[in-house]
Structures are given as C-alpha cells and as structure tokens.
C-alpha cells in the first residue's frame, strides 16, 4: 500500500536538483505553479539552463538508490492506494509523491477524512494566534484533520491547537523532512509526528528555497477541502495560501479582525472578494459539510463540546461582562480598571476567567479571549 515507484522518486530528485532554477521563477506564482505541473523532460528544458545536458544525462542514469531516506521517513507516490485522495483530485500541479514521517499508513487512513487548512500571517497578533488555536482545537475535536505548515505565527498556533485537542494533524514541510524543522520548533514537530503526519515533497537533505513556500502552500491547500485564512496583511507572501487555494479551486474562508489592524487587511480583502466568513469552528464545519451531516465522522470523532464551553454558559454576569469587554478591545488591566471604582474586582474577574481557561495573557499585558464569542448567547 505504501512506497514510491522509481519514476516518482526520480521526479522528487529532479525538483531538488532544479531547486536553484525554480528559485528564479518564484516571484511569478502562476508561472511557478505551471512549471511544477510540467512533465520531467519539459521541466528540464524550461529551466535547466546551462546544466540542461548534464541533468538530462543524470536523469537518464537515475536509480532509486540515489534517494537517501532517513530512518523514520517513508515514501508514497500517486500510483499507490494510500496516496491522499485530495491530491489526486488536484489538476496537474499535484506533487507526484510525498515523503512521510509519522507512518504512511496513518497518512493513508487520514486521506479519507476531511481536512481543513489554517493559514495566515507569520507575524500574527495575539488575537490571531488565539483564533487559530481555538479554530484548530474545535475542528480537531470534531474529527477534522488540520493541515498546515510549520512557519511562525498562525500556522504554528493552529498546529498547537489541534495537538491540544488530541486531533489529527497534517504538517507539510517546505524542505527535506530531516532538515526542514527549525530548532525552536523541534518539540512541536516531534509531537506532530507522534500523533499525525509530516509530509514533504523534497527528498531528505534538500534545503528550503523561496519557491518551496509556494510549493508547500499548494500541497497544504491541495490536501484540504477548505482553507481558512486567520490573519494576513495584503502582501502576496501573507496571502500566498489563499491565492494558491483559489488557483486550485478550493473553498477559501477568512476570519475577520478589526478593520484598523494591518494584519487583518488581507483577510478583509478576501471577505470583500466573496470568501466565506468564519467566526469559529462551527462556521468552518458548516462550510465543510454544507449542511450535510458529517459522512465519515465516527463515534469517537463526533463533535463534542469542550469543557470550557460548558463553563461559559454558566458564567456569572460580572465575568461575562469582563469577558465581553476584553473581546471588545478593552483588553489590558489598565483599560479595564480605568473607569472602575474597584480595581481589585476587575483584576479578580480577569484572574478567574484566566483560571477557567477563557482568557489568556498575551504580549504587552493584554488579555486575549481563547475562543470566539460567536456561539455564545449574549448577556
């Protein structure tokens, strides 16, 4: 059921060999996606440059043994049944094969489940981080696979959220599996491989170059039925995931932010263009199943209420009021206590909400709600 044929291995080897050439093309995203959809010979012709004949010769002499595999890395190609179905449904641009860490078998099992990609800014605000976390937590608890990269900001928050809920994750790396993980993410990466899968298109040892981000986003969004952008400014780099998903014809949704926040500009632009609006996991599940009940969610994976949700329904009025004030942007003790005669009571409410797991402290002493208020009854 797993494994990769020689031709597909050769393709991944070729991509690594042509990495420098592809890096030249990385600025033009459309062209890069077209190039990645080309056949092997055409690709060498297109960007082989002066090394064309040398590459052709090495290509002809290629043997699968040339691809080095580290201990825990397996391969799977589109000619095997375990290859994710979502990728086979993609047009020509899909990767031919994947390197898998966290067993190819698990990847095959996950292939039949719906997946949601959570993408966004690398320099997200605390609000964005918490939204990504709670979205991923809710989706993972409902049995949906959470797909994403391992870059800073939203992607990492989403992965951490999904792992918190003990859900399935699919992490797509932009370089060889053995070199892709930055040192500061090693623990998270290990956890992600323990319970989920990490996949890469490039063979072990291949370094990341600028074209790899676009290539990775195409796999992330390709694997997912729904792509949710949590926070992104208007730069092409931050909206990369959304644009690739649109190019692939996948559904794109966005989480709104404050209109004054620069890192919400991109998401708001997407919403203006007609992207679906997502306020929380419930909205994402609605989009995913379009009103149809989940097909493949089994008993263990049925959407369940998290414990925090139950608590929030019995919140005392004063706590509910503080929580709503924080959500509305009065999010530091200084702001909250400014008009109040009794600073101690406000601080007490904040600490109680934090102890309940409804608030968390972010940078600069701000308090951030840990989940959206969308599903909660107003006071």
């Amino acid at each position: 059921m797993t494994g990769a044929c020689g031709a597909c291995l050769r393709r991944s080897w070729l991509l690594a060999a042509l990495s420098a050439g592809l890096a030249y093309q990385a600025r033009d995203r459309e062209r890069l996606l077209e190039l990645l959809a080309l056949g092997d010979e055409d690709l060498v012709q297109a960007i082989g440059g002066r090394r064309r004949s040398e590459l052709q010769e090495r290509y002809a002499r290629f043997t699968p043994e040339e691809v080095r595999l580290t201990a825990d890395v397996e391969t799977i190609c589109r000619h095997h049944r375990g290859y994710p179905r979502a990728l086979t449904q993609m047009s020509d641009g899909a990767p031919r094969m994947l390197y898998v860490s966290g067993t190819a078998q698990r990847l095959a099992a996950q292939g039949s489940e719906p997946a949601v990609a959570i993408v966004g800014s690398r320099r997200a605000t605390d609000y964005g981080m918490e939204m990504a976390r709670s979205l991923a937590r809710g989706l993972a608890a409902s049995g949906v696979t959470v797909a994403g990269g391992l870059s800073d900001g939203i992607a990492v928050a989403a992965l951490a959220g999904a792992l918190e809920a003990g859900g399935r994750t699919l992490t797509v790396m932009d370089a060889g599996l053995d070199v892709a993980c930055p040192a500061r993410r090693r623990t998270l990466f290990q956890r992600a491989r323990m319970t989920g899968c990490a996949v890469a298109e490039l063979p072990c040892g291949a370094r990341s170059r600028n074209w790899c981000y676009t290539a990775r986003e195409r796999i992330v969004t390709g694997l997912a039925e729904l792509t949710i952008v949590v926070e992104a400014d208007e730069s092409p780099g931050e909206l990369l995931g959304a644009h690739v998903a649109q190019a692939l014809g996948r559904t794109v949704a966005a989480v709104p932010g404050r209109v004054t926040s620069p890192v919400s500009r991109g998401t708001h632009a997407l919403l203006m263009e007609g992207a679906a609006l997502v306020r929380g996991p419930e909205d994402a599940l609605d989009l995913l199943y379009r009103g149809n009940p989940p097909r493949s969610v089994d008993a263990a994976g049925t959407p369940k209420r998290s414990s925090t949700k139950r608590q929030s329904q019995q919140l005392e009025p004063r706590l509910q009021m503080t929580l709503e004030q924080v959500g509305a942007g009065r999010d530091t003790p200084a702001k909250l206590t400014a008009g109040s005669a009794d600073a101690g009571e406000v601080l007490l409410a904040l600490s109680e909400l934090e102890a309940m797991g409804l608030l968390t402290r972010g940078d600069g002493g701000r308090y951030v709600p840990r989940e959206s208020l969308a599903g909660r009854a107003p006071l």
């Binding site: 928050a157 200084a334 600073a343 007490l348 600490s351 402290r361």
Partner: protein
Amino acid sequence: MLARAHTFTIEGLETRHVTVEVDIRPGLPAFTIVGLADAAVREARERVQAAILNSGYEFPGRRITANLAPGDVPKIGPGLDLALACAVLAASMQLPREPLESHVLFGELALDGTVRASQQGTLAVAQATLQAGLQTLVLAPERAREAGLIEGLEVAAVECLGSAVRVLGGGPADPLPKAPKANTTATDILGPDLSDVRGQHHAVRALIVAAAGAHNNLLSGPPGTGKTMLAQRIPSILPSLSRPEAIEVTRIHSIAGDLEGDLVSSRPFRAPHHSITAAGLIGGARRGWVGEVVLAHNGVLFLDELSEFARPALEALRQPLEDGRVAIVRARHSAVYPARFMLMAATNPCPCGYAGASGKCRCNEADLARHRRRLSGPLLDRIDLLVKLESEGALSADAAPLTSSRKAREQVMMARERQARRLGDEGVTVNAHMDARMLQRHVRLERRAEELLRKSQEQGLLSARGQHRVLRVARTIADLNGRERVRARDVGSALALRSEAQHAGSRAA
C-alpha cells in the same frame, strides 16, 4: 626612642585595628615604613615629613623606622597619616607618649599640616574604636559629626597637626563646623513626587503594592510610557530607615566614599548603567571593593533596560536576591557583605519596544524568543510583580494623578507596620522575605480565594514557586487594605500582577 599610636584601616566593610610603632635611633637620616603598606601609605612618608616641618615641629634627622602591626594585614589608604605623624613626634619627645595609648588617630595630612576632610569609612572606624575600648577618636572636624552618631564615643575634632598635639596634651578640641540644615525628618518626602505621574493608575497601584511588601518587580512597557519615571518615584513612598538600618547604610556609604551629610535617612536608590559587569554589581573587583548590590542594601536597586545587562551580571544577582547578602571569594581575600534590597527592573516588551501595541511591533519570532530568553530563567523567578505600562495610559497627559507620594507613603507605612507586627518573631519584616513555612502560617485564605488558586494551578498557570509569589503579593494587598484574612480579590489581583517567564498564550508555541 619608641612610640606607639592607634588607628584603623578599612578592609571591605570591616575595620582592622592597626598599631603604628615608630622607633628612632642614631644613624643616617632615613624614614622607612614596614608592614604591608600600600602605595598610599608609603607615600605618607613625604606627607608626614612635610606636615611636621610646616607645623613648626622638628623632623628628627636620624634613622626612623615605622612598623604597622599586625604585619599580615594590608593597610590601605591615607588614613594612617595622622597616627604616623603623632607617633614620630612622640618618639622624638615632642609629645607625651601616654595619651597616644588611649586615642585613635584617623586622618590624612596635607603638606601644611591640616587634617583633610576626605577620609572614607569614618563611621566604621568610630564603631570599631568603641568596640576596641579606646577612649577618644581624633579626626577632621568635617567628619566629627559622622563619628558622633555612635553613642558613648568621645570625638575630638582637630583641624591640623598642631591641634592634634594640643588635644593629646589634654587641651580642648577644635570647634565643629556649623551643622548643615537640620536633619531631614521621617515625614519629609524626598525626590520627585508620585503626583507627577498622570494616568497609568494600574501601574501606580502595582508599585504601591511592591513598595508595601518590598516585592521585587519588573516594569514592562513600550518606550516613553514612564517606566523610569515611576521607578525614580519609588524612594518617595518607601518608609524611611530605622536607626539601626540608617547606621548600617551610612557605614556602607561612608566606606564607599559617596556619603553626603552625616546620617543617611532615605533609602538608597542605585541605578547602575546596563554596561555594568558582574564584579561591579556584586563587588570583588579588587580587595575591599563593594558592588552596587551592597550600596543598595536596605534600599532599591533599579536596573533599567534589564534585557541589555550582561548575562553574568544578572546571574550574579541570584545569591543576594535569595540570601540578602553576597559572599565574595577571591584568590587573596573573601568577604561577606549585606545586600538586602528591593529589585526594580524595567524593560521593553520586545527588542523594538512595541510588542502588544497593535501592528507597531517589527520584531519577528526569533527576536522575541531571544528577548524572552534573556529575561527568563532564575532572575524572573525571583520577581514577584510584573507591572505593565501601556502607551494609551501615557498619552493622557491631562489625566489625573492617582495619588501623591505623601498619601501613598502613609498607606505603605501602615501596611509595613501590619507586616512587622505579624512577622515580629520570624526574623523578617516584610512579606517579600517570607519563606514557604511562614506563608503557611501567616497567609490565611478564604474559601473562594483558595478555590481560585487551585483552579489557576489546574489550568497550568502557576508553578509551585509561582504560587508562593502570588501568596506573598496577595498577603501584601490584604495588608494594604487592612485585612488580616486574604480574600479572593487579593489573590485575583496578585494573579493578574504575577510575572511569568512565558505566557501560555504567547506567540511561541
């Protein structure tokens, strides 16, 4: 002829009794000083000779040997001049020898024979004189008031060598210079006032808590929000020193040579620049050198731009923060100095300073991680309070100040009295110094408070040590509010003010 005089030399914060023995015998004119004298003491030869001649006495043209006993103690500084000169005069029969046995002579001589006022460590010498059972301390008039702080000691001020000879001969001492303006009394507030701080009420409240319990604290906020301004106002709300504390502080500062006036009455406030080395901070660069932590004893040590301090310097703070003293051991000397201070630190929330202010921060994840790493660890572990300042608060220049230093200080004094009464038999005076055992004994939580604490722990917000810190601060808040029982709101406020190396919701996952 042989003559002996008594004086003291300073070693670190300690004094060592030195007996100056002078022997004059026939031979080629020479003046030799033996007994581990440093350069300043050896130079005394020239000063003593000139001072004696210019005071109208005779400098014996014979072979003079001066021995500084005990021979194994290094003698530092020019304070031995007066004793040397008097011993030479006594050995050459220009002065009776007996009075020298009961007097301590401490002072540097000018070439014209006047006694200089610049002597360091006078208070320590005065204490030592009394302890050694010697009768009178002879020194410069400018220093006499400082020595007079020690009760039961006879102090004789002498302006010049001639006066010293007169005093030793049983004559009257010189008059003291006019006293400076009357001593600042306990109710006087020193330095800038809290009422200058407009807005930032949350931070001001937190600082009052810190001052009331002597809690180590960290001010964090974007540039220009008033971190330094707030820190500078802390001395104005701290209670003044008690008499024994004042003597201790005066002694330290007298030896360090930065004493102004006589008795120090306000708490020291030390704010070293962030380029300071570990040795500069804790001492020990050379024999007897005391660091900033010792100078901040019984006061405040303020470290502005905490993340810019060198790692070794910050690590060196661990022992004083834990034990209230520094033990310095070097190849040739070792010493233990008192260093119980309240640590105040200020820092930007990130390298660019604007983390948390929406969209303004330009730092990437790696920058933030590096910044956190510098701050985190053992030092942050000993910081009870995290005071967050924000730019919105600082903008309101027309906002009302929360309180004045006078009012805040009254609150602080009251809270400190409660603490002192409660902790009377525990050997500490403020909540910040309570250990786990004392916490158990003195922090009685209401049921709701206990529940809140337990829930926070379950949520993973508090480590065991973190819980202790929260309890200490909660105790202080209850003291400020005049309550013996710690209520949920006290614990809640303490939780909201706690410092954590890493927030659960921060960007690093």
